[in-house]
Structures are given as C-alpha cells and as structure tokens.
C-alpha cells in the first residue's frame, strides 16, 4: 500500500521510537540511607563514626542488607550451632529499628501456635546469613510496639509466606491499617500523646481520650534545644557511602 487514496506517494512514516526506561537513573534519584548511619547528637569525635561507617560498608559489601522500614515482613536466617541443619529461619514483622552504628538492631515479631515471639536481631552480626524482604509495607508509625497489646491476628504471619513481587523501584506503599486492641490494661498507655500513635483504632470512651490529652506537651515541637537537623549530615554521609559501595 505504497500509494495513498490521493494517488501521490505516501509520506515516509518513521517507526515509533522505543521508550527507554533508564532504571539506573530512577534508582539514583531514590535515595535511602539506613538510619543507623546517621550519628547521634553528642560530643563524640566524628572519627569514631567514620571508622564505624567504614566497617559497616565493609560488611555490606560482603552481605547484602536490603532496604527496609518498620512494618516490613522479613525472613532472617541465622547460623545456629544448636539448630538442626545449623540454620534457623524466623519470619516476622519489623516492630522497631534501634541503635546506631555497628550495634544497630531490629525487632521481628510473629505469633506462632498462639504464642507471641519477638527476636531482636543485630544488623551487622556475622551470624546472620540472609535477610529477605517478604512484603514491603510502611505503616503509619515508626514504632509498632503496640502490636503486643493488639489482637494476635495483627501479628500472625505465615512462616512459609512467599515474597510478594514488586515491580516499582519508586515508592514504598503505606498501609493505613487501624489496629484493634485487646481490652485494657496495656503495657503502655498508648492513647497518650507522648507516643503519637496513628495506627490504632481507639474504642475508648471520649472521656478517656480527653483525659489522655491532659498529658499533651504542644511546646515540645517548638523547642529549639531539641532540634537535630540531619539533612546536611545525611548528604555528606550519603555521598561517602554510595562512593564506597560502588567500588
């Protein structure tokens, strides 16, 4: 069909250009610096943190520590001399990430056979052989300790869960789940504004919620002595870490 309906030769239509999705660029645009790299506020010599970061990067070169937040479901295999097959696999939701530097820890929680189990793992412990992220999911809070007082169904995860496939390297989805709690007493008074929890569905009477607001300290967020601006420190550390990891 060279000739068109007019009888003139058809104009040359070049084929459509292929759309190249530059994955590397996307990955570079999205930065994630693990929170344990950021040094805590204090008067210690930055040399100590520099040496620690070097060791952390060394470990990361040998063993891949994936990016994960609180609320992700992870499976950790550790070397255990007392386990059969010498390896011990534990699946759980990450409740909390604590510690800075080489002593950085994260707590995984799961309910096995109606018994809640929590294990505090150290990120840079050489006994850890593999960390797999089974499900990527951020929650509304930084600290999910209230899961201990929530109904056990919110902490049960299948041990043989398969990793959920994720295409996008762009955003981590936020799960806006409101968790239902067991009847009071709880281990901590989660309704108080000190904990600032958004992920619980409080079924308490209004009177109790108002009484909890008595402990509100709205002046704390404006307190200048408590400010710790980490943006510049993060930039420097990010540059350092990404250069070292590329080598």
């Amino acid at each position: 069909c060279r000739t068109s309906s007019d009888g003139e030769p058809a104009k040359f239509q070049p084929p459509p250009k292929p759309v190249i999705i530059d994955r590397q660029k996307q990955r570079e645009e999205r930065r994630f610096l693990s929170p344990e790299f950021i040094p805590p506020r204090g008067r210690t010599d930055p040399l100590k943190f520099y040496i620690e970061r070097k060791d952390m990067i060394q470990r990361r070169k040998v063993f891949n520590i994936p990016e994960f937040y609180v609320g992700h479901i992870l499976a950790v295999t550790t070397a255990d001399p007392y386990a059969n097959e010498k390896a011990n696999r534990f699946v759980g939701i990450c409740i909390q990430r604590g510690g800075k530097g080489l002593g950085a820890t994260f707590i995984l929680r799961n309910v096995i056979e109606d018994q809640g189990v929590e294990i505090c793992y150290e990120l840079y412990n050489p006994r850890i052989q593999a960390i797999e992220v089974l499900k990527l999911e951020k929650r509304l809070d930084d600290n999910l300790m209230y899961l201990r007082d929530a109904l056990p169904e919110y902490s049960t995860f299948d041990v043989n869960m398969k990793p959920v496939f994720r295409l996008d390297h762009e955003e981590v989805p936020v799960n806006k789940l409101q968790v239902r709690m067991k009847p009071k007493p709880w281990s901590k008074r989660w309704e108080r504004p000190k904990y600032n929890i958004k992920g619980i569905k409080f079924e308490l009477p209004e009177k109790k919620m108002k009484e909890a607001q008595k402990w509100n300290k709205p002046w704390l967020e404006f307190d200048m002595m408590r400010e710790y601006d980490t943006s510049k420190i993060e930039e420097k550390i990010w540059k350092e870490v990404s250069e070292e990891l590329k080598k």
Binding site: N88, G116, C120
Partner: protein, 122 residues
C-alpha cells in the same frame, strides 16, 4: 488486682504451663505460681529449674521462655512459659506445642527428654 508485667521469673510469679500434662491443663481457681528458684540469685531465666505450686501440690518445672528481653538473637516470649518436670528431669507431659528456644540444646544432657517431646523450635 493484676500486677504489672513481671519480667524474669522469681518467687510468686504466675507462670503458664505449656505441655499437655493433666496437672497443667485442668482448670483451678488459682494460677500456678513459682515458690522457689533453684539458682544462686532468686531470678530464673531460660533453662533454670523452679518449684511450682499447682492445685495445692508442689512440682518442679523448667523455664522455657520469659517476657524479659534476653541477649540479642534470642527469642522473647509474650508469656512466661514453663514445662512440668520430675525430680530426675523427666517431663510429665507428652507433647509441647509452643515454640522452644534453640538455646536449651546447649545443655542437651540434662534436658534431652524435654527437647525430645518439643515440636517447634524458634
């Protein structure tokens, strides 16, 4: 009048019997309580023997998990778990459904029979 979260196991802590023995599972109007810990300090951790008062009787038991956070990489349970035991170390029940920490395997000589009836390990 329930006391706050008691961390490791000492005298007068209420414990939860985890095996399928008759003594542990029949309901009674008082929960099983610890009366003595066989330890230099009065505080019992995983793998220590304690004396329990159940249904008006005294029985020895082995601690398999407590609410207190222990060393890193070891599990922390949401309840104080205990397995009923005889004086010579033989467990009274025949099955343990709840998970047991692998650390108990270190003292395999004393606890071999308890570990044999355990199903899940953490």
């Amino acid at each position: 009048s329930i006391t706050g979260a008691c961390q490791a196991i000492q005298k007068l802590t209420r414990v939860r019997v985890v095996d399928n023995s008759a003594l542990g599972n029949t309901p009674y109007h008082r929960p099983p309580k610890c009366i003595h810990v066989y330890n230099k300090t009065g505080v019992g951790k995983v793998g220590d023997k304690i004396l329990l008062a159940i249904k008006g009787e005294k029985k020895k038991a082995l601690i398999v998990g407590h609410k207190m956070p222990g060393p890193h990489m070891t599990p922390r349970f949401d309840s104080n778990n205990v397995v009923l035991i005889e004086d010579n170390g033989n467990p009274i029940g025949t099955r343990i459904k709840t998970p047991i920490p692998y650390i108990l395997r270190r003292r395999e000589g004393e606890f071999s029979k308890v570990l044999a009836i355990a199903r899940n390990f953490v």
